[in-house]
């Protein structure tokens, strides 16, 4: 199905998406790169001329930089690990025959429909609050001293909140993949005498590889930009300042656009390094 006419039509129909996305990407990106070489303080004098790589040097050398990179990677890695492992387990569980399967699936998927800001607020005020939170009640019930979660175990708390939000997504994608698994394959393996655990590792898991790739790819994209949860819970304090949050602070709170833009360029580089890895894998799996 490829006549000159249809190819021309295809180009015409693809054009809006390509042009718009190109503009969406290039225009702001160029501006960011330009700002990053300038001393630019909108509230204190505006554009103060070119400064070369000074912003870049300052951003890296600031004491907040490496901890921010570290927090970003820990949050992304932690949430990915939790959601993928639990997602596989949940997907298998939800695929088993049971009563009320539909309702259970809805219960599990529900958190995905809650806005991040709302979910962060709920967790912060109703569960993790050291005085009135449900966890505090639980701790006191067992005679322990309530933990002030968001300051003492800030990272784990944020990873917990974000994982809770993304687990439904992982489960949903993996469940769809499991449902497409040919049961004859499993039965053949059973006939061949493979015990359940090795059936899982040799048949189910490889079958899920593509779905797991998709989950990892999409979640990484979104997790790198985790913002609302931190904004609402810790405001970047207690070691939870991610790169995204750090740049946000530089640009909007301290109104240092030049410095923030340099940070933005770093964030873009970090994202692209991760993206490169992921794209390779996805590109390979895409044609299947």
């Amino acid at each position: 199905m490829a006549t000159k006419a249809s190819r021309a039509a295809a180009r015409l129909m693809l054009a809006p998406a390509v042009i718009l996305l190109l503009g969406w990407m290039l225009v702001p990106l160029t501006m960011t790169v330009i700002f990053s070489f300038k001393r630019y303080l909108p509230m204190r004098g505006g554009d103060l001329g070119w400064v070369g790589f000074e912003n870049y040097a300052r951003f890296v050398n600031s004491s907040a930089f490496w901890p921010a990179v570290q927090s970003t990677l820990i949050i992304v890695g932690g949430v990915l690990l939790i959601t993928v492992v639990l997602g596989v387990v949940l997907a298998i569980l939800l695929d088993q025959p049971m009563w009320g399967q539909g309702i259970v699936r809805i219960l599990v998927i529900a958190p995905f429909f809650v806005m991040p800001t709302v979910s962060a607020l709920v967790w912060k005020n109703m569960f993790m609050d050291p005085v009135n939170g449900l966890f505090a009640h639980l701790w006191r019930f067992f005679g322990a001293t309530p933990v002030s979660w968001l300051s003492e175990a800030s990272m784990s708390s944020i990873i917990l909140i974000v994982s809770w939000q993304w687990l439904p997504f992982a489960t949903l994608i993996l469940l769809t993949a499991i449902q497409s698994l040919d049961s004859e394959q499993l039965e053949a393996a059973e006939m061949d005498g493979a015990p359940p655990l090795s059936r899982f590792f040799h048949i189910t898991l490889p079958h899920l590889a593509r779905a797991i790739t998709i989950v990892v790819l999409i979640q990484t994209i979104f997790l790198l930009a985790v913002f609302a949860e931190i904004f609402v819970t810790t405001q970047g304090a207690f070691g939870t300042r991610t790169l995204t949050y750090l740049i946000f602070q530089r640009v909007l709170e301290s109104q240092n656009v030049g410095l923030g833009s340099a940070g933005g360029v770093y964030a873009i580089i970090l994202a692209n390094i991760l993206a490169l890895f992921l794209m390779r894998i996805v590109g390979k799996n895409l044609d299947r």
């Binding site: 490829a2 249809s6 049971m98 259970v104 913002f227 904004f231 995204t244 994202a271």
Partner: protein, 225 residues
């Protein structure tokens, strides 16, 4: 895996699954319960489960204090609007890539996806400036456009995967039957892809609904969701 299982096995499955399901759902359930409590019951120690004086006061207060329903309405318009705009652009693009593939199709697709990788903070200030320039700051239109852009690559990608599963012969048949490009997409492709389009729309509405970064940074009061 539609194999017969013993009732005991099914019972265990059911029990475990419901426990896990309720555990995951619990924060939402708790929020809903709490929303019907008075402030005193809400922070009572030990916590009260179901037996309290159910009240709608909280809902009234929220509505009075901040015109909550308008924010809700904003959210719906923005999420729906950005999805609709996105579909208008994404369906033709996905059609092109799925049915008239060229050597560059895969590259274009990966490139589109890679624009998602661009961290929002990297381009926050320029967008902010552009918005001021065009008077889009704190407007529903502005936010709709931004969210449309943000989710466009995911939409194109999802639709592409769904479209690819539709046999090209059916579209060729439509062409032989005298359908032009518009009729082909409108009467044949779209109805066949309804399930795919529906899940794309659903995911996109959720993503738009959940988008906090741009929403917090580009709005203040009027368009806030």
């Amino acid at each position: 895996m539609a194999r017969a299982v013993t009732p005991q096995r099914k019972l265990i499955n059911t029990a475990v699954a419901w426990m896990v399901g309720l555990l995951i759902f619990f924060p939402i359930l708790w929020t809903i319960l709490t929303s019907f409590k008075t402030e005193a019951t809400a922070i009572a120690d030990p916590p009260v489960w179901f037996f309290f004086d159910w009240t709608l006061d909280n809902y009234r207060v929220v509505q009075e204090r901040s015109d909550y329903s308008r924010f809700l309405w904003n959210s719906i318009i923005i999420a729906g609007g950005s999805t609709f705009l996105g579909l208008l652009i994404a369906i033709p693009a996905a059609w092109s890539m799925a049915f008239v593939p060229s050597k560059r199709t895969k590259d274009i697709l990966l490139w589109m996806l890679s624009t998602k990788m661009l961290p929002a903070v990297g381009v926050l200030y320029p967008i902010y400036l552009i918005f001021i320039q065009f008077g889009l700051l704190d407007t529903r239109i502005g936010l709709t456009i931004v969210l449309m852009f943000i989710n466009l690559p995911i939409m194109v990608w999802m639709l592409y995967t769904y479209f690819k599963e539709i046999p090209g012969e059916i579209l060729e048949a439509a062409r032989m039957d005298g359908a032009g490009l518009r009729e082909e997409i409108l009467y044949v492709l779209t109805p066949m892809a309804i399930p795919g389009i529906a899940s794309t729309v659903l995911l996109n509405v959720i993503l738009a609904w959940n988008e906090a970064f741009w929403t917090l940074n580009l709005t203040a009061a009027k368009a806030a969701p």
